[in-house]
């Protein structure tokens, strides 16, 4: 019998995936794994085995900076004046474009 060795703890890793070149990285889900190598393998199998991704980012959840403090994100006073509601950009943009004779800009290539 060999002497027992300490075993690494299994921990969560967050996986982000890019569906095609130029797309943003979107959160895909998470995997449990004991280290980066197996986390990479499991991310590939869970979020890439059907050729649905061209790139994956795999990051240890413990390395993610978590901001959830309500004082920072959900302060109690009225913030409605910070929201753009009631201000319609579309008509102003159309008028400006007509004035300048410009075309509507195309979406950035994907």
């Amino acid at each position: 019998m060999t002497e027992p060795t300490a075993r690494p703890a299994i921990e969560p890793w967050e996986v982000f995936r890019q569906e095609k070149d130029g797309d943003p990285m979107r959160h895909a889900g998470s995997v449990l794994a004991p280290d980066a190598e197996l986390a990479g393998h499991y991310a590939r199998e869970l979020f890439g085995r059907r050729q649905e991704s061209v790139r994956l980012w795999v990051v240890r959840r413990a390395d993610v900076l978590d901001l959830s403090d309500p004082d920072l994100l959900q302060p109690p006073l009225d913030r409605s004046f910070k929201k753009p509601g009631g201000y319609v950009m579309r008509d102003k943009l159309a008028a400006a474009r007509e004035q300048s004779g410009g075309e509507k800009p195309k979406a950035r290539p994907g």
Partner: protein, 254 residues
């Protein structure tokens, strides 16, 4: 090369042995679906098993084009003694360490075999092998990770891996069993070297890994010429499983 000069019979043995290897290891590994050590590994192993069945389908397909046989019939309608997979794959699913030991020996052997085929003179096989190598690259990464972890974790993991390697040792090199008509394949430029040479290449390739992990090199097979025959009860059981549905309604269209 022209089709007329193809060593068709020997090529059939090569394709059949490769297809049966992939088919049998795929079905063995699929036995983990639902019961692998953790959910992520369950999905990974099931996906790897599907990959192997996919490789088998491609190889049976090629064999079918060569001989006119129906690929489904090749896969499912033979008796157990007609399969020509390596005896390495005849030890039953076993525990997780057995699966990892078997996959390590098989995947490294398969890599050596594929290397000897991708530059071959028969384009359909050379091109298929070039594709298989790209998928097997991930299989090797996955199995290297597990093999090193079990070997390097003292106590139960290493002890179980050693026991599995002991059980597999007599059949460890059977992927390299010489094929009937092998010289014709080499003469035609389809296969780069005799199986006995490929076995030596494989041993040279895995020696540094085994050395680093403090593991012994497996011995040569006891009956080298019968390394793809005499399959035994574990395969009889597996055959019964994987032909069960097909036999339940012979000739049905699924």
């Amino acid at each position: 090369m022209s089709v007329a000069s193809l060593p068709t019979v020997a090529l059939g043995h090569l394709l059949g042995s490769m297809a049966d290897d992939e088919f049998v290891i795929g079905f063995s590994d699929s036995e983990w679906t639902g019961i692998a050590p953790l959910l992520e590994e369950d999905i990974a192993m099931s996906s790897l098993a599907q990959d192997e069945i996919g490789h088998a389908a491609a190889l049976y397909g090629l064999l079918g084009e060569l001989t006119g046989a129906d690929p489904d019939a090749l896969a499912y309608d033979r008796d157990p003694h007609e399969y020509r997979h390596a005896r390495l794959l005849d030890h039953g699913r076993g525990d997780w360490a057995m699966t990892i030991a078997r996959r390590y020996l098989y995947e490294t052997s398969d890599a050596t075999r594929l290397e000897a085929l991708i530059g071959g003179s028969w384009p359909p096989l050379a091109q298929l092998c070039a594709k298989l190598v790209r998928e097997e690259r991930y299989h090797l990464m996955h199995i290297d990770a597990w093999f090193a972890r079990l070997a390097g974790t003292g106590g139960e993991p290493r002890d179980r891996l050693l026991a599995a390697l002991d059980e597999l040792a007599p059949d460890a090199a059977t992927v390299f069993t010489p094929l009937p008509g092998e010289p014709a394949l080499i003469e035609a430029g389809i296969l780069a070297a005799p199986m006995v040479d490929l076995e030596a290449r494989w041993r040279a390739a895995i020696a540094p890994d085994l050395d680093a992990l403090g593991l012994a090199m497996p011995p040569s097979p006891e009956r080298p010429s019968r390394g793809r025959q005499d399959h035994g009860p574990a395969f009889a059981w597996l055959w019964d499983e994987f032909t069960m549905v097909r036999r339940s309604d012979p000739g049905a269209t699924w």
